[in-house]
């Protein structure tokens, strides 16, 4: 089944104002750079974005924040973005901060047809407010609900024309679960190959979860914290 679209414009054509979008990535690692740029260009507004982080001031989701295109963020950690913090503290931006493991599992559950699950994470904290608590094995757990999105946008290293995806290194992070949880999933890849070229044993996410795939261009792959050691 051919899932290829010519370019990012066509891939993102269906994204409308007010939609909920999941975006893969951890920090700036494994983020769908091309699609984010396209959303900036199109000026799509009032978005609810589900993403572990919010980019930095001038890259990643930070670009959408600068343009006030995001109405609400659902994230676990947003420490690297001054504009985010400003909009949040001033009340311009609605923010739902949730534990990282719960965020990952809520996306996974959303894609897997599990409406909710119990987790110990957040019990006794403000994250648990208003949530059902149950004791399992003598330990309190809170009820967390699944997350889905109108669109999930993921970034993979390699993908084939059928939408099968392979990720590289720690750029995998949230991308696989979000691919599963999108009603429509867009995959942008560094290397788009003909079907048959990828070893089925090595595929991380099967094409069934991907509706549109395109060859990305001009990846910057910015490094947030360049840390090195010297050769002695």
């Amino acid at each position: 089944m051919n899932k290829v679209v010519d370019n990012v414009e066509k891939a993102c054509a269906g994204i409308e104002n007010g939609m909920t979008i999941m975006l893969g990535g951890f920090g700036l690692c494994g983020i769908p750079e091309n699609s984010i740029s396209q959303l900036v260009k199109r000026g799509t507004k009032e978005l609810t974005c589900i993403s572990n982080n919010a980019g930095v001031d001038d890259f990643g989701l930070g670009l959408l924040l600068q343009n006030r295109q995001i109405k609400k963020m659902i994230s676990s950690y947003v420490g690297e973005n001054d504009e985010f913090e400003r909009q949040m503290l001033s009340g311009e931006l609605e923010v739902d901060l949730i534990p990282q493991g719960s965020l990952a599992e809520r996306c996974r559950a959303g894609g897997a047809g599990i409406p909710a699950f119990f987790t110990p994470a957040g019990y006794g904290t403000e994250v648990a407010e208003g949530k059902e608590v149950r004791i399992f094995n003598g330990k309190p757990h809170i009820l967390e609900s699944a997350l889905t999105a109108d669109y999930a946008i993921v970034k993979a290293w390699k993908g084939d024309t059928a939408g099968n995806l392979i990720f590289k290194g720690t750029a995998r992070n949230f991308n696989p679960m979000m691919a599963m949880a999108g009603k429509v999933t867009i995959a942008e890849v560094e290397h788009l190959v003909p079907v048959g070229e990828l070893d089925p044993n090595q595929i991380h996410i099967a094409g069934i979860f991907v509706q549109h795939i395109f060859q990305g261009t001009n990846y910057e792959k910015r490094i947030e914290q360049r840390t090195v050691r010297q050769k002695s």
Partner: protein, 219 residues
């Protein structure tokens, strides 16, 4: 003399046991990896999706697709594995990781920890900390004994929004090693070299339990 950050990390490294999988938080905890005792083999997990995390890369060998949870460039050890975030937290919640070391703004005498939010001031988010502290059997907090204003970070009750309740087992600060005991209280186990029990008592707002002679740390 109170310990510096590296010495706190060095003392925590003495707690490592052969064959453990370990998750190190951002800050002082990251330094623990530099002091693994000889003959001990451990594997570091970073919650963004790697087991078998290695040292920082050499200059010029950084890979944008290979970072730790602090977004720093890293390397992978031989035998490393990559995985997605859901699998990563399955390792954590499923108690497959034997030790978690993390920093804190406040710890209370019943093992509550606060490290993610200062209302109206600093809101960075909890990241993976709530999942880590809710699940890990063995949690060590690495931090300075007092905050920048000189106020004790070891309290009878945390004043900041909590990250987890009743979860911290041990605290290593620049002044002391303490265990949090059943029923509440920081039981003093060791003092930093040259630091007196009285100094530690004066720097601790929460209940400090002192039984018998308190030995000095050996680094």
């Amino acid at each position: 003399m109170a310990l510096d950050k590296n010495q706190i990390a060095q003392r925590i490294a003495q707690e490592l046991q052969h064959g453990w999988y370990v998750n190190l938080g951002i800050g002082i905890p990251t330094l623990v990896a530099n002091f693994i005792p000889e003959g001990i083999e451990v594997e570091f997990q970073s919650e963004n999706g790697i087991l078998g995390m290695g040292p920082f890369p050499f200059d010029g060998e950084e890979d944008a697709d290979l970072i730790n949870a602090g977004k720093q460039t890293i390397t992978a050890m031989e035998g490393a594995a990559y995985f997605d975030s859901a699998t990563s937290f399955a390792m954590i919640r499923g108690q497959h990781v034997q030790l978690t070391v993390l920093g804190a703004m406040e710890v209370s005498e019943n093992g509550d920890i606060a490290n993610w939010k200062i209302p109206g001031k600093m809101v960075k988010g909890m990241g993976g900390a709530m999942d880590l502290v809710a699940s890990a059997d063995n949690i060590i907090v690495a931090m300075m004994h007092a905050n920048k204003k000189g106020e004790s970070k070891l309290l009878s009750n945390c004043s900041l929004p909590l990250t987890g309740v009743g979860c911290v087992k041990k605290v290593v600060t620049n002044l002391a090693v303490m265990e949090i005991i059943e029923g509440g209280g920081f039981k003093l186990l060791e003092r930093a070299p040259g630091v007196s029990v009285e100094e530690i008592r004066a720097a601790t707002e929460g209940k400090l339990i002192i039984k018998g002679e308190i030995p000095e740390m050996v680094l």
